[in-house]
Symmetry: C2
Subunit: 404 residues, 2 copies
């Protein structure tokens, strides 16, 4: 039976003509083994940034439609060059823009969602070609306008193509060779995971592991696609993100992450009454503020305290909202800090394994690190601490859970 | 009644963000007067060359389909940036790729012919927008593959849009402000023509005047579109290319041209018999050699001599063919020269005005310039001379016919 695979190569993997030829060689190593490949590519290296810069020289207020029109040229250049490189290597290949592959999206310019793909047309093209190259990150709406998919878009394109073509495996080639139990820049010898479940990967992505955007993982989970993260620079086995039930080995903890792009706000001593959280968070929602952790505690005399974290870039807006909500709800004070880090342990087996939380808090305590907020999910525990202790905490937690 | 116009801006006119803003200002001066504008733009400045260079770094033998996929991104960048500039200037505008405007071509990659345009869709877009921006040089075939139109492609796109939308006037903005009676680099004070007929313009284009590619003029002639050549750098009135019968003033001679990109071949003393010309020129045709002038004379003893001109770049191939034809047809010798120039006088009134040819040859004779070949068409006379006399001949002819 004919074997198929989807592969996605990011911008750095196709950053120069030389690198594009290398990618062609890698793809050919699959077609030489009789595997047909659907390839998704991003724009070359810094192309997207250069295009954005061109637009800025025209106006600071470009319409989303025209911005998508502009940016989508980046991938179109990559797909044609990769097709040429494959032809030069003697491999049959044909390229498709998002429009040509009929990647139909909703009409949300700059952040579109894929609704369908013309898999029939693509499967027909597979009859004559060993390789189909599809521009990532782009599609068209039902009126034919070009739309781009926003952050993590090319990964999402790749997973959507796998789902649409009925292909089980989707390799995401990047500049790291897999998903690690911690950031190698922080922990000296993190372990590479050979497998991880969708939910753990989602939690890792949310908590600061930058390998994959959560959107593509969610998509893969929905359609049961095996996502394989691996390096375009070597042949090392990567990490497979797959259904929990398909996993061979299960660690309690699959990774330790930290991120410091958030700020913490606390509104103290709000006279407790129904709707106080709703007042605050609907106000934040109106301004499109992304709220990450939320902790509410009820203090003395029926007064509540709410703490939450938001992206640092929204600090000013959030501070204004908090001050006005404070007055409205007659709270005592608003405090905030930008010097925080969120350190998290992620793992499917965690909450079902007794004592993990306890072991985690003990590590903080042993290192005299004060925990400012705690939040738990089904597969992770996150602690907000002063950011100066972030590296120390990641190292200590990695040692406790992953180096024993 | 709503007024419409088509405008085309070439690569140098949109070469930088600053120039794109200038073009937006020029377009706005039309919409401010209530005129709706369909704008066709080329790729910015050297973009196409840069893309070709990228492809060369991959392979010397890129497929035409992928080359068209690559090159068509150039115009897509221009249309989006121009739309942004128009929006910033407060003008409603929307951009279309060749695919979106449904510029349907035959499937001849790199040199496609336009078959139809979805004028209904474009006219509908005019209901909401004062300006439609369409990528020049590109279309799609019936299977949705991107095709480019080859040399002069954007001008052709502009004329095709005018024809399809039923718009009478098509302005071609370029870096000169019109069609001149001679090359300003050769003749010190050439006259700018306010009008010229399609046929004269075609003859000028064929004979070396570089302003317009003959293809767009032919298209304009076929659909009776007024083509107006003018400068994107000033507001000077340009030259209108229009039906002969619509012209107000008629000169005998509308221009003197010269070109020196050709070489001359002569096969001497071919025993005359039916089919000798056919033998030679079908052989050249098989190799896709473009033959410009052909002169055949019958000499003594029923022996013929054939002279013809071809592009210098084909010199080697043509020489080989001539040598083999010489043997086959038992001709006496093949001579050739690359040091020739073709100097021409073009004008609708020419052949019907007695004595023009005589006056022309007299000018050559007065300056001791030997004429090596003469060829006449309905509206022009061309003489092949030694290229060192080309400038002198153009100046003298311009003085004789256009400065009196």
């Amino acid at each position: 039976m004919q074997k198929y695979i989807v592969q996605k190569y990011g911008g750095t993997s196709v950053g120069t003509p030389e690198k594009i030829k290398n990618v062609a060689g890698k793809i050919k190593s699959y077609t030489d083994r009789g595997i047909k490949v659907c390839v998704v590519v991003s724009a070359m290296g810094k192309t997207t940034d250069q295009l954005i810069d061109l637009a800025r020289q025209i106006t600071d207020d470009a319409s989303d439609r025209e911005m998508d029109m502009l940016l989508s040229t980046g991938e179109q250049v990559s797909i044609s060059l990769l097709a040429m490189a494959l032809h030069a290597a003697g491999t049959s290949a044909v390229s498709f823009t998002g429009s040509q592959a009929e990647v139909i999206t909703n009409g949300m310019f700059s952040n579109a969602k894929i609704e369908s793909i013309n898999s029939e047309k693509l499967l027909k093209a597979f009859e004559k070609n060993d390789v189909l190259i599809v521009a990532g990150f782009q599609g068209i709406d039902k009126d034919g306008n070009i739309t781009t998919l926003g952050r993590g878009g090319s990964d999402t394109s790749a997973v959507a193509l796998a789902a649409s073509l009925g292909i089980k495996d989707c390799e995401i080639y990047t500049d790291v060779d897999g998903v690690y139990t911690a950031d190698p820049r922080v922990v000296s010898s993190p372990r590479k995971l050979s497998e991880i479940s969708y939910d753990e990967m989602l939690e890792l992505a949310r908590l600061g592991a930058g390998v994959l955007h959560s959107r593509s993982v969610e998509f893969a989970k929905k359609y049961n696609i095996n996502l394989i993260v691996r390096s375009s620079y070597n042949d090392v086995e990567g990490t497979t993100i797959k259904p929990k039930e398909d996993m061979m080995e299960k660690f309690i903890i699959s990774g330790i992450t930290s991120k410091n792009d958030e700020a913490k706000f606390t509104i103290r001593d709000i006279p407790d009454q129904p709707g106080i959280a709703q007042t605050l968070f609907s106000r934040l929602g109106e301004k499109n503020i992304y709220v990450d952790m939320i902790v509410q505690s009820t203090g003395k005399d029926n007064h509540a305290t709410i703490s939450f974290t938001v992206l640092k870039k929204d600090f000013k807006t959030v501070n204004d909202i908090c001050e006005s909500v404070k007055k409205e709800l007659k709270a005592s004070e608003v405090t905030s800090s930008q010097e925080i880090a969120t350190v998290s342990a992620v793992g499917v087996g965690m909450l079902s394994t007794a004592g993990v939380a306890g072991r985690m808090f003990k590590v903080f305590s042993e290192h005299n690190i004060n925990i400012e907020m705690i939040s738990t999910s089904e597969i992770g525990i996150s602690c907000v601490i002063n950011e100066i202790y972030a590296e120390l905490a990641v190292k200590a937690l990695h040692k406790e859970f992953l180096e024993k």
